[in-house]
């Protein structure tokens, strides 16, 4: 006869179960978000994301293309916490699928909007995204915008370049959107700084916001540093500004620094292209 053996341990409370599952979800998101990054020769690439809660809706990603270019995306899902994080994972999947077959950043955003529109509408949500293709051979950065703040270009002359203005509707806003592309050329030592609005909207205990001017100042002051040290400098500046004020929104940045004339992408999922 088999005897049923009952566990005498009390079941976890709902609170404990939820806490455990949130931490597991955080681990998944951190692994996917801050995972392996492409190694670039003659350029530096750095991406980081800090959620306001344990998990969040900010997103960045890199996709090395077969033609040697690097596709970069940075985005912000409406809201915070678990709901935003779930949609962030959906957005990531849409980007990686689209990036495989689309010709440029504009087409990528169109494909993503087409894929996600109905889901975003039914959930009453949206995603802002900026997508850019970096060509290491020519120094060209092609970009397209779906409702996201435009990146800052810190020139080798230690000035900030105003990227040509490009507007576009957030994903989930209107169906069948065509996203225009624009292009700039990066000189050696130029740096591109992509970010989400959590940085410029970070608040201190007086309710003041960090703002774009402060961000520009810290970028210029630390321009000569490596991408990694530049990232640390920006984060330190935000922390010093906010002090003990709780983080209101997810904070994300991507830094691309053009070290020399040519860049070789040795990506984790594309062959090395030599020129």
């Amino acid at each position: 006869m088999f005897e049923k053996k009952f566990s005498h341990n009390a079941p976890d409370s709902l609170d404990q179960t939820l806490k455990r599952e949130i931490h597991l979800a955080r681990n998944i998101q951190m692994k996917l978000l801050n995972g392996k990054q492409p190694v670039l020769e003659n350029a530096q690439l750095r991406g980081s994301s800090i959620p306001a809660r344990l998990i969040g809706g900010d997103y960045y990603d890199f996709y090395p293309l077969m033609n040697g270019k690097l596709r970069i995306v940075i985005g912000d899902v409406m809201g915070k916490g678990i709901p935003a994080a779930m949609l962030m994972i959906l957005t990531r999947g849409a980007f990686r699928s689209a990036a495989e077959f689309t010709k440029g950043p504009g087409e990528t955003l169109t494909a993503m909007n087409n894929a996600l529109f109905e889901d975003l509408r039914s959930l009453g949500s949206f995603v802002t995204l900026l997508c850019a293709d970096w060509d290491p051979k020519t120094g060209r950065l092609n970009y397209a915008n779906a409702g996201h703040p435009l990146p800052l270009i810190i020139k080798h002359t230690k000035t900030i370049l105003q990227v040509p203005k490009l507007l576009g509707v957030m994903l989930g806003g209107l169906p069948h959107q065509i996203y225009e592309e624009k292009e700039i050329v990066l000189d050696p030592k130029d740096c591109v700084y992509f970010y989400t609005d959590g940085i410029i909207e970070a608040q201190n205990r007086n309710g003041e916001q960090f703002k774009r001017d402060r961000l520009i100042q810290v970028l210029l002051e630390n321009y000569e540093k490596s991408a990694e040290d530049l990232e640390k400098a920006v984060l330190k500046e935000i922390l010093d500004f906010a002090q003990d004020t709780p983080q209101r929104d997810d904070i994300t940045m991507v830094i691309l620094k053009n070290d020399q004339n040519s860049t070789f992408v040795s990506g984790f999922n594309s062959p090395v292209m030599n020129y």
């Binding site: 912000d76 899902v77 409406m78 809201g79 915070k80 509408r121 009453g124 949500s125 949206f126 802002t128 779906a146 409702g147 996201h148 703040p149 507007l167 576009g168 509707v169 957030m170 806003g173 209107l174 909207e201 309710g207 209101r248 929104d249």
Partner: protein, 105 residues
């Protein structure tokens, strides 16, 4: 800063909504409760003149109003938008959505 909303729909079916303070993830519940109280309308004017901050969740609320206006066939006018909020609306494409919905409406 907290959030408050004043609303009314007059006998002609013209709705007025005034947003006051901060519309973000912490205050949208109050906004949604008030929105549910609005009855049938032929038009809605949203006054943003005393709205000082809006986050993505708040923008989502405004977006929902625009989509509702298409569904229930009422026009939407947005007035008194402060420059910093207007900049955000421009960047995310809210004006483009508003224009398209009003045109299709």
């Amino acid at each position: 800063m907290d959030f408050a909303v004043e609303h009314l729909v007059n006998p002609n079916g013209e709705g007025f909504l005034k947003l006051i303070g901060v519309l973000d993830i912490y205050t949208i519940e109050k906004f949604n409760l008030e929105m549910d109280k609005l009855g049938p309308m032929i038009s809605l004017t949203i006054d943003f003149s005393e709205l000082y901050f809006i986050d993505s969740t708040g923008i989502g609320c405004i977006l929902q109003i625009l989509f509702k206006s298409k569904e229930h066939h009422f026009s939407v006018d947005m007035i008194g938008i402060r420059p910093e909020i207007s900049d955000i609306f421009e960047v995310v494409g809210l004006y483009q959505i508003w224009k398209t919905i009003q045109k299709d409406g």
